[in-house]
Structure formats: structure tokens, C-alpha cells
């Protein structure tokens, strides 16, 4: 059994405001969020790093992966404030979606509602914050660094 996923595939349904996926070999991502860590994966064979995390390396075809925490400051690449939402997300409106770079990795998520519209600028420094949601759900968001 791979130490990476340890045979545990359930639990991912807790991720995000609404989840569409339950079974994945990367379900430990949610366990790390519970510990306050935002994690990516790295191929132990060729050292390729992945976010979103994945169980298999497309560069060398190895499935021998390890987790590592994404730390420090990221930089805002682009964003939008959604005024309309797909079914199931209406109560969260309005919310801002963003893409943030942390070194060579990029991470998609929401901007914290603590950020004022006029503060949000491409290139601004952000950091990840783990956020617990009602109903035993968990996600991450970006806050000012």
C-alpha cells in the first residue's frame, strides 16, 4: 500500500463550499487542511511538484508521491468578483475568485471577504488561510500577507 494515500480515499467531500468529488487518492489534502496546512504534492522520483495535488506524476509516471506544505507569501495573478453564482452558491454572494502564485505553483481559490475591493490589486502579496465552514466543511482562502 502506498504511504502517500494509505488506502484512504473518502473524505474529500468535505472540501470547499460545495463538493462534487468524494473519492480521491489525494483525500489527505483535507486532513492537512484540518491541521491548518495547505499542501501540494511532489514526485519522490523526479521531484516534479503539483498543485492541485495529484497521486500520479505525469512527468515520469511514478505514483510515489509525497506531501509538502505551501508556506509564505504569494502574489495575486488575477481575480474577479462574482455577482452571480451557480446553483448552490447563491448565499455566499458576492465573492471574489483569484489565482495566486507561490513560486512556481499557482493556486486557485477565493479571496477573503476581509479584503476591501479597493485594496485588491494584481501583484499584491497574499497568504493562504484555512477556513472552517458550517456543516463540518473546510476550505482555504487568501488573505493580505
Amino acid at each position: 500500500m502506498s504511504p502517500f494515500w494509505g488506502g484512504k480515499i473518502m473524505g474529500f467531500e468535505k472540501f470547499g463550499n460545495v463538493s462534487f468529488t468524494s473519492q480521491t487518492k489525494a483525500s489527505a489534502f483535507v486532513d492537512f487542511l484540518e491541521e491548518g496546512k495547505l499542501c501540494a504534492t511532489r514526485c519522490k522520483n523526479c521531484k516534479a511538484e503539483y498543485f492541485p495535488p495529484r497521486a500520479d506524476c505525469s512527468a515520469c509516471l511514478s505514483s510515489d508521491m509525497e506531501w509538502f506544505e505551501i508556506k509564505g507569501e504569494g502574489e495575486l495573478i488575477t481575480y474577479t468578483k462574482s455577482i452571480y453564482a451557480p446553483a448552490g452558491f447563491e448565499k455566499d454572494l458576492p465573492y471574489s475568485l483569484a489565482l495566486v502564485s507561490f513560486g512556481d505553483l499557482k493556486i486557485f481559490g477565493r479571496l477573503s471577504k476581509s479584503l476591501k475591493d479597493e485594496e485588491i490589486k494584481i501583484g499584491m502579496k497574499l497568504k493562504a488561510n484555512i477556513l472552517k465552514l458550517p456543516g463540518d466543511r473546510i476550505t482555504y482562502e487568501f488573505v493580505a500577507a
Binding site: 468529488t21 488575477t78 474577479t80 451557480p86 475568485l97 489565482l99 486557485f108 494584481i122
Partner: protein, 384 residues
Amino acid sequence: MKKEIAIVGVGQSAFVRGYPGNIRELAFEAYKEAMEDAKITPKEIDATLLCSAPEYDKQRTPAGLIAEYLGLNPQPAFYVESVCSSSSTGLRIAYSLIKSGLHDTVIVLGLQKMSEITSAESQERMGRGADIMWEAPFGTMMPAYYAMYARGHMNKYGTTEEDLALIRVKAASYGMLNEKAVYRKPVKLEDALNADMIATPLKKFDCCANADGASCIIVTNKDKAKEYSKKPIWILGLGAATAPINMAGRDTFTGLRCAQVAAKMAYEMAGVTPNDIDVAEVHDCFTIAEMMAYEDLGFAKPGEGKRLIREKETYKEGKIPINVDGGLLSKGHPIGATGGSQIRTIVMQLRGEAGPMQVKDPEIGLVHNIGGVGIYGNVTILGR
């Protein structure tokens, strides 16, 4: 330029809100027009490629159902899907089926009856056109993704909300002329700029209209083309590419890499350059998508697309007329039917049959058709 595979028939249903019939009847409307255009009978069709995004269909495996309704049994029929670019992908497959010698004549039938489900359900399904594991849980939908590209383009190049609004003003001016368009009213610049915000900086008129519709393209080999048609339109170049579905996997946020790669392939195959294109249809699901297409296709340098629209160079009388049928913005965007409708427009332009939308004497045309937010890129070059 090799003239080996040709389009000899094109058809399209009207693009409408709430088509009052089922998908087989919708398909028939486009099919009938294409068959009458080509003046051939069902027994001359060797295969049916049905192109759509199946999550909108209540009918399971529609290809078989529709082949039967069109009188195309026992010929083979199968499904082709690359969301919004499904029917351009269909054309690519039709080309290869004919070039291989497996078939002489193939129909590419694109359709979508989006009104089988509610608008909210439709938005939810479109959100699931992105990565459902890592992005959809944040509440994503198509306008938000393209809005992120718009923000990136504005930040890097100084493109303005007014530049984007001008694209919609142009689209609406041609949608008014197109009897098959869903949106046939003019849009004033100030109305576009003052419309309800959807996802900053994109507003209501920056977004295309959902519609029900069907398109049909009849593709055949050189010998049959000369037998069937006085004006065969030749497939000169085909480019197709993909890019990561995740925004996190992308390397540019001011253009679509899949379109850039597909364009290069299509130009090389056809042996032409952007300067040789006389008329084009681009995938303007949002105004920013048309702006990026100007640059991704090489009609403008990166960041200079705004000059094309400010100087009206993409109007019918301009240097490179683009979407002079109303585009997705005003003609409407029935997912699976869109690529075929774009191809039909260029075929009619090259034949000189585009009526009030006719560009002066075009010889080479281009179709740019994107699936998802730049997951699938298809660029097709056609010539007479």
C-alpha cells in the same frame, strides 16, 4: 494549398430561446437545409457525427436517435464532444475519415437544446466544465473565468471596459442583420457600459446569449465535391490543441494558449499567414474572448487588439472583418451547434451568399472555436 476535402452543404436552424420541439426535430431543421444546399440524398451520406455537450440532453446517446430520424440508418453514427467546440472537432474527424478513404461523405451535425434545463442548472453544468475537484467547489462559472482573463488583459495592456463594450456594439449591429440570430436588437455603448455586473469587469452585454439551435455541415472528398457543387469550399488548414483545465496549470492570463497553438498549426497546414485571411469567425462567448482571439490568431500583436476594435478594423468594411454574423454574443451560443454555425457563416461568405452581411470578395476565411475556458482550441482555415 491542398484542395482535397470540401464542404458542399451547410445548414443552420434559427438560434432561439426555448425551441418548441425535441432535439431530433431541432437537428432536422439544420440537416434539411444542408441537404437541400448540397442537393444530395440520405443514401449518399456515409456517416453521421453528432456533436454536442451531452449534459444538456435528457436523451441518452442521441447520435443513434438522430441518425434514425434523419433517415441515416444503417450508416454509422457516433458522438463527438469538446464542449463549445464540439462541431469543429467534428469537422476535424470528418476530414480524417474522408482523407483515410474510410468514407466519401460525412455529416457533422451540431446541436444543443439548452432550454431542456433551467438557467441556474445550466450555469451549474457550465461550472462543471471546469475542474470539479479543485475549482468548482469555490463556486465557479464561465463568466467568472473569462472575467479573470479580462482583468489580466486590462492590467497588462491597458484594455478598457469600453474596448470590450465596443465589441458587443459591433456584434449587435450584425446580429440585427442575421435572421437566425437570437438577439436582434442594437446595443448602445452606454447601455453596454451601464449594464448589470455579472463578474467584474464583465457585464451583461459582455456575455453571449444562451440559445437552442442546430447546425449541419456536409463534408466530402475531391471527386464528389466537384460532382455535387459548383462552389465547393475547401478545408485548407486544421489546427487543434488543448491546455490545462485548471487555471493553476496555465501559463498565460492574457490569451488562450490552446488557440495560439491551434492557429499556428492551421496556418502552417494551409500555408498562409494572418494577413491572408479575408474574413473570420471567432469564439466570442464573452467580449474579452474576441479581444484575445484578435491577438491569439495574429490579427494584432499581443496587447494591440484594442486598436482593431477602436478603429473598426473588424467591421465588415475593415481590414479583417470578424463575426459579421453577430457572433456568439448576438447570434447566440447553443454549445454543440456553435462551431458548425461559424463554419456555415464562413462557407457562405466565401461563396458570396452572405446577403447583407457579405464581406467584399473574400477568398480565405478562418474559424476559431474554443471549448471550455480554453481547454480545447480549434482553428479551421477554409478557401474557395
